[in-house]
Subunit: 569 residues, 2 copies
Amino acid sequence: MSRWLPAWLAGYRRDWLGGDVSAALVVTLLLIPQGLAYALLAGLPAQTGLYASVVPLFIYALVGKSHAQSVGPMAVTSLLTAATLARLAPAGPADTLALAAWLALLSGAMLVLLGALRFGFLADFLSAPVLAGFTSASALLIVLSQLVPLAGGHGGGSTLTTLLPALWRAFASARPVALAFGLATLAWLWLARRYLAGALIRCGVAASLARLAAKAAPVLAVLGAMLAVPVLQLTHDLPLVGAVPAGLPQPHWPALAARLPELVLPAFFIALVNYVQSLSVVQWLAAQRGEPVDPDRELLALGLCNVGAGLFTGLPVTGGLSRSVINAEAGAQTQLASLITAGLMLVVMVWASAALAWLPLSVLAATIVIAVGSMVDFAALRRAWRVDRADAAGFIATFVAVLLLGVDTGIVAGVLLSLGSWLARAGRPHIVELGRLPGSEHFRNVRRYSVETRPQVVVVRVDESLFFANARRVEEALWARLAERPHARRLVLVMSAVNRVDATALAMLERLDTALAAHGVELSLAEVKGPVLAVLERGGLAARFAGRLHLTTLQAWRAGHVEAGDYVI
Amino acid sequence: MSRWLPAWLAGYRRDWLGGDVSAALVVTLLLIPQGLAYALLAGLPAQTGLYASVVPLFIYALVGKSHAQSVGPMAVTSLLTAATLARLAPAGPADTLALAAWLALLSGAMLVLLGALRFGFLADFLSAPVLAGFTSASALLIVLSQLVPLAGGHGGGSTLTTLLPALWRAFASARPVALAFGLATLAWLWLARRYLAGALIRCGVAASLARLAAKAAPVLAVLGAMLAVPVLQLTHDLPLVGAVPAGLPQPHWPALAARLPELVLPAFFIALVNYVQSLSVVQWLAAQRGEPVDPDRELLALGLCNVGAGLFTGLPVTGGLSRSVINAEAGAQTQLASLITAGLMLVVMVWASAALAWLPLSVLAATIVIAVGSMVDFAALRRAWRVDRADAAGFIATFVAVLLLGVDTGIVAGVLLSLGSWLARAGRPHIVELGRLPGSEHFRNVRRYSVETRPQVVVVRVDESLFFANARRVEEALWARLAERPHARRLVLVMSAVNRVDATALAMLERLDTALAAHGVELSLAEVKGPVLAVLERGGLAARFAGRLHLTTLQAWRAGHVEAGDYVI
């Protein structure tokens, strides 16, 4: 029987229970406002965020491997969903709900499929600077979009060009009560983040508890507002969340959208971004405990979570770093914390949803602004700039593309740019001519060291694997070196930095060898690595180069030419 | 004054003239049927091919660097043009002409722009197997599409699914006279290719002249047919080229197609394919003479050729291997051969175009079938399969995609697949644990050699540059090695095969170092290359790893641990 239980449950220890229960309480308090707010951000009714919170928590606890991962609605995912829904221009509210649910279902199914195909490595195609540029620009868009409900307005957009006019309109006709609630919440959250933990510690509260309390500050804002609105009778000219239906919907296939094919590409990008986000959370959590990560299993778990969210009229979900970190810090020992959170969410939805009706939208907007604002991270750009201009260009291009073209186009531009710039650099490899450090076995760059050379022999090292993106340039560079050395009768290619070769590079070597031979120059290879030698053998080049494949550069350098004092190998 | 002349003209030697004139004669005889046939293949009136032949020859001679490059209409380019035109569904013949001219203009302008931006390296993103798969499938499509006019039919398609039914219809209602002309031409060309040169040599003709005559066999077929049709009065039920307007059109901007934005993407792919084709021809020609190639200059020249073709109501053009080789073999010494060819073409168009009206379409179709048939090259697939399964998969995927989805979608699929598969492999680098060959400075794979290891030290070499596509996997692999070696207190990363690092990899190294330190394991780096060290310094890691950056693996291995007999470094 225990074979069918998740490993954490089969080996559960009673002393873990306290931590799991307290973590569940804290996360529930955080998840309620986040669920509501991220659903509104996606352009969906608030309760959708609650629906999308419960089922994924259950599913991840049973399938996922990370003890503290907290799957549910997240800011960037909701922004992507909003952008997709805006582009699809749904016919009405029912259509919007069905399209959002289909996005979750489709992206979930894709993640499950990718997991089954062991395509976990796909997440690696997003480089760190591109991801940072994407996250920063998305966070900036989210902050701007939330300033509209903060001022009591509605509407907005998913790019800078549509957001700025909406923002202008919202503040030109701001509703005073809504704006007051919003600004008060902003101020409280900012102060709480800055001073609350310190103040509580000075009052004698334990440091860990104080830090948790500071992180639960949004819940206090939400509870305070929900109390103030009915008590002070502030419902006039104040947009509220409104009636939230009690209970959980029955699972069902969303209405079959005739426009399903249009959803495929957006669903793929949502799946990719969700997976990258979720995996980075799992890696962070695993690193804390020194545990391994199974990317393919995480693909499967996140995929099933999204399928579950979709079946319960939800929206795409992923693992969020902030919530998962709070889960871990609040004591989560196993996935039981998530199971309890899911149970508590159910309780809230069945018995407490009526109270949520009094929640001002501007308060929710303020909690998002504070939660997301810190994600704008220009430090990553500074780091990338110092390390590598191409990486910095990747950040900037992705940042600008997301702001101006939208999150979905932006992420595609970023990925293509990372791949392209890496290949472009691999296409211009570092190529140096070598000479022998007198009397030694070592060969070094002729331009940097005082080395020995021979007029008949040109020794060249290529610092890159040889493949289609650089084969032509390497060939040209070798001809250029030879043109400078008219007496050369042998060209030695030092392959110590060549980790791989492909068919294009093999064809180049063959062509080069033939052309060099026609010019009376012999091509020799030195220090060929095992895997490269295997490819040369399979391609028939090992036979062609028989007698011209040398273990060391020195051997290649003096092949057929014995100097006084040299020993013959 | 001579500053403004092309280099070849400024330094022209009189003894080159004979070769240039004879080459021009041969190429003109070849270019007339090819120009007509490739225009028809593109779905355009036959004379368009002649218009597109003259101006590009002039332009290339003045701007291009290759002595024997022959720019003009080519088979694959015409197929791409046909596919684009079919997709755009032009309103009528005038619209078709304008769209084709705009394709030439736009792709030409793009090439000029890419040349100005020094983007010549773009051609390298097409790997040899993908290019071979693309060319083979295109050639197969072309052969199939030409079997329709060979049987006297018309119409067709640009993918296998539309071509096969058209072929069935054409042969079900084949026109006997057309088919007879077509089959006779096929037979003559096949026999000529196989036996004509040998037969002529046996008759005492000089070998070089005999080989040229064999290659000019299509011209004899065309001349014979043009004579036979009027003499034998065979015009009934035989589709002919028909009236070809005499003379060259005036240059003018083609009617401004309102659908220009739709042309941008197809024009880009046509530009890319044309450039790759043209550059490979130039490289082949340059290699014969041991001359250098300037890819950016070739971009400029080909771009201007296409702009010229577009202004003269033409279609996209490129350098064709077969025609250029014949140009070189017939004696072309300089670009003067192309200038003379252009002049001869003008003469033909002004005074001999009437004769072309008698040319049966099935004869032209047969010349294309023979010219293009040999481009189906499965030997490239066999080679790729032996060398590298991923390369073979690239060939097959491109081949299938071109056949089923069309030439334009196929080439995109192929490029993305090459890039993706190379990165996927860079994402799974070869990682080996090393031990010391007893008593030496050399470290080798512990699984292959009998080497010395120390329980406290794990030495690992990664055979790949560290970057976003593999940073996570390398990190995981290092943790996995450490998990197998619980007593390890130092992890030595041998960087001899790491040619480059990016910001993502730097972040990984920092994260790994912090996490390892928390586990009581020290991370050391050995054999870091100059360019990589520079990046570490710019990223602030050189300071962090101060005292843990070792020149040699041996130093890293015994840092802080002096063995009996070891000397301290």
